[in-house]
């Protein structure tokens, strides 16, 4: 008998996915490890903060499992929710299960505690990649009605395997967000057929962003997860070079497509228009007959969008910054919104990569930054990387979602992680602005991120946050004075541990000293939750991570 995955709650999914009766929850509801931030916003908390985690058996094999509850705040990741996921990945390093299963259903960062959620997502990514590095596979099972969006869309594409149902969606920005940003002609969020063929399981399966497509049936997810147990996909320079070529090839082949049906047609599906009517078994059979398209190594990569007229460089703050940091000893230049080059400080050479003009991070820009990081790892072992952050967030376009922007951005994150593992120091510096998703796979995935005092960091402006959360803007303003958890501002990110320190100093020597200090003393392990606790901005994350990791 089929049992719908989409209609089940997170706990029901776990109960029927794992061997009967084998689930042992960690920090279960009776422990009352709840969000400390929701009460002040007049919002009831949940006993498990919207995610159930624990140990269990799948086909007799030990696994760790997490299931997000889409019914609670849209599965949004807040401080405790994120910390439970991080803790579970840390537990995997000592438990060494056959897999970590993540039943993802999430809109991404929970706006009510946006800063904690944004930092938390990047901590989840780093912890997840630690688990993959240890040779333990991470499986994403995506079948909830709310889909897997935002930061969780990035997390999903950091995993070894992705399993989706045809009801599920995987993407970066939600259609409503894109529509409200660029109008209904850009992405009509009420056109459900359009939404599903852009972000749904079938499209992701045909393009390869999901490995296994299943029916909306928990038993089918169980079978798919069982088949992936113990199967790892190591993250290496070679595997990321392959991934890079695949993504560049996708851009070259499909970059001009305006609709998923064009992509399916170019993939060789004779009757692309009928894909939506096929059941999953028929679609799987059809896909197995397709010949993989060749992926030319560098095609699609040179097509960086030309800078907009306002970005001719006059107001850009990066030349001045680099002069202060490197006293003219640098070759950094901009190609559109991309910054790249090398710089010298006290006889040491750094690779510089970043963005300018408040760049919206689209697929090209994510790929171009990944290229610089990969080239540095390949050609200049050990050379430190400085990531210069100036972004308005991910690009909010239908085309980016069609191409799978979350996979492009996750690729950038994985490349930075590879650099760290290969012995490169990776320092992030927010020198202008850092917003939402664009920040997660740059500064927030560095060894540590620093910021200039005048920089801006936020997930969302307070007026927009007031609209989404339906909380009075004046109230949010008043609360933001005393609580760093959702209000914009670099100081709040320092308090929460997301920014390690601000680089003060009016004199050239001051900034140079800060950079040298960062190069020599930035920790390689992720200490942000600990910093957040010590500084009082995130009082629960560190202890929740520790409790789960020691469970």
């Amino acid at each position: 008998m089929n049992r719908s995955f989409a209609e089940a709650s997170a706990r029901e999914r776990i109960a029927h996915l794992l061997d009967a009766g084998s689930f042992r929850e960690i920090l279960g509801p009776a422990e009352r490890v709840m969000s400390p931030h929701l009460a002040q916003l007049d919002t009831p908390a949940a006993f498990d903060d919207g995610v159930a985690i624990g140990r269990g058996l799948l086909q007799g094999q030990p696994v760790l499992v997490a299931a997000q509850e889409g019914g609670f705040m849209g599965g949004g990741v807040g401080e405790v929710h994120g910390a439970k996921l991080v803790g579970l990945f840390k537990l995997a390093l000592s438990d060494r299960p056959q897999a970590v299963l993540v039943l993802a259903e999430s809109g991404g960062v929970r706006l009510h505690e946006a800063n904690a959620g944004l930092i938390g997502i990047s901590e989840v990514m780093r912890a997840l990649l630690d688990v993959r590095h240890a040779g333990i596979p991470v499986l994403m099972l995506i079948g909830g009605a709310k889909g897997c969006f935002g930061g969780m869309g990035l997390v999903a594409r950091c995993a070894d395997h992705v399993v989706m149902s045809d009801l599920a969606r995987l993407a970066m920005s939600g259609p409503e967000v894109i529509e409200s940003s660029h109008g209904v002609e850009e992405f009509d969020s009420k056109d459900l057929a359009l939404v599903w063929r852009t972000t749904g399981g079938k499209h992701r399966f045909l393009t390869g962003d999901c490995d296994v497509l299943v029916e909306d049936d928990i038993g089918a997810f169980r079978a798919a997860a069982g088949a992936a147990l113990g199967r790892t996909r190591p993250v290496t320079l070679e595997s990321l070079a392959d991934e890079h070529a695949l993504l560049a090839g996708r851009l070259a082949h499909f970059g001009e497509c305006h609709d998923a049906r064009e992509i399916w047609s170019r993939l060789g599906l004779a009757n692309a228009a009928q894909v939506t009517e096929l059941d999953t078994a028929a679609l799987r059979a059809l896909k197995s007959t397709l010949v993989p398209s060749p992926s030319p190594a560098s095609a699609g990569e040179t097509n960086l969008h030309t800078p907009s007229p306002t970005s001719a460089g006059g107001a850009a703050s990066w030349p001045l910054l680099l002069d202060r940091l490197f006293a003219g000893q640098h070759s950094v230049h901009h190609e559109g919104e991309l910054l790249r080059g090398t710089a010298q400080i006290q006889g040491r050479t750094l690779a510089i990569v970043g963005t300018t003009d408040h760049a919206a991070i689209g697929v090209e820009l994510a790929l171009a930054q990944a290229r610089v990081v990969l080239d540095t790892v390949r050609n200049h072992p050990g050379r430190p990387l400085l990531l210069l952050v100036d972004t308005q967030g991910q690009r909010l376009r239908h085309r980016d979602e069609l191409l799978g922007i979350n996979r492009y951005m996750a690729h950038l994150g994985c490349c930075i992680e590879l650099a760290r593992r290969s012995g490169h120091r990776v320092i992030g510096l927010v020198y202008d602005q850092a917003l939402s998703g664009g920040f997660i796979t740059s500064g927030l995935i560095a060894d540590a991120c620093y910021a200039l005092p005048e920089a801006q960091i936020r997930v969302m402006r307070l007026p927009a946050m007031a609209r989404v959360t339906k909380i009075d803007e004046k109230r949010l303003e008043a609360l933001s004075l005393s609580n760093p958890v959702f209000a914009p501002g670099v100081q709040n990110y320092v308090a929460m541990g997301g920014v390690r320190a601000l680089w003060h100093g009016d004199l050239q020597g001051d900034l140079q000293a800060e950079l040298l200090m960062a190069l020599d003393h930035t920790p390689i392990i992720d200490e942000r939750a600990r910093d957040g606790a010590a500084r009082g901005g995130r009082q629960l994350a560190a202890q929740v991570i520790a409790r789960v990791a020691a469970a």
């Binding site: 709650s9 009776a30 009460a39 009831p44 006993f47 019914g71």
Partner: protein
């Protein structure tokens, strides 16, 4: 947001059991956690709800629940997001049914 507390006496004791959770804190929905409260003789209920001013209706719904199931030595904790009385009753009954299973009793 409002916090409400109720207590009922005179039910049957279940003995020890693992805590039971049903429902989700979503719009028009609620979660109910039932835990043991040994040797108290009480069925106590703590509610956090996003909808204020419905104390009398909660009292009536819970009184009905207590008459149907008559549990003692238990503590109910509820997080509510504006569920209707019918949904509240449904969740309470689901929780009681799971509780009987968890405590090894008859459903």
């Amino acid at each position: 947001m409002e916090t409400l507390h109720f207590q009922f006496t005179g039910g049957r004791t279940l003995g020890s059991f693992a805590p039971v959770l049903v429902g989700v804190v979503g719009s028009g929905n609620l979660e109910v956690l039932i835990e043991p409260q040994p040797a108290s003789g009480l069925c106590s209920v703590a509610i956090t709800t996003s909808a204020t001013g419905f104390g009398a209706i909660w009292a009536a719904v819970l009184r009905d629940f207590h008459e149907r199931h008559g549990l003692a030595d238990v503590a109910l904790s509820i997080h509510d997001m504006g569920a209707t009385p019918a949904v509240v009753s449904l969740r309470l009954d689901q929780a009681a049914a799971q509780l009987n299973t968890a405590a090894g009793g008859r459903p």
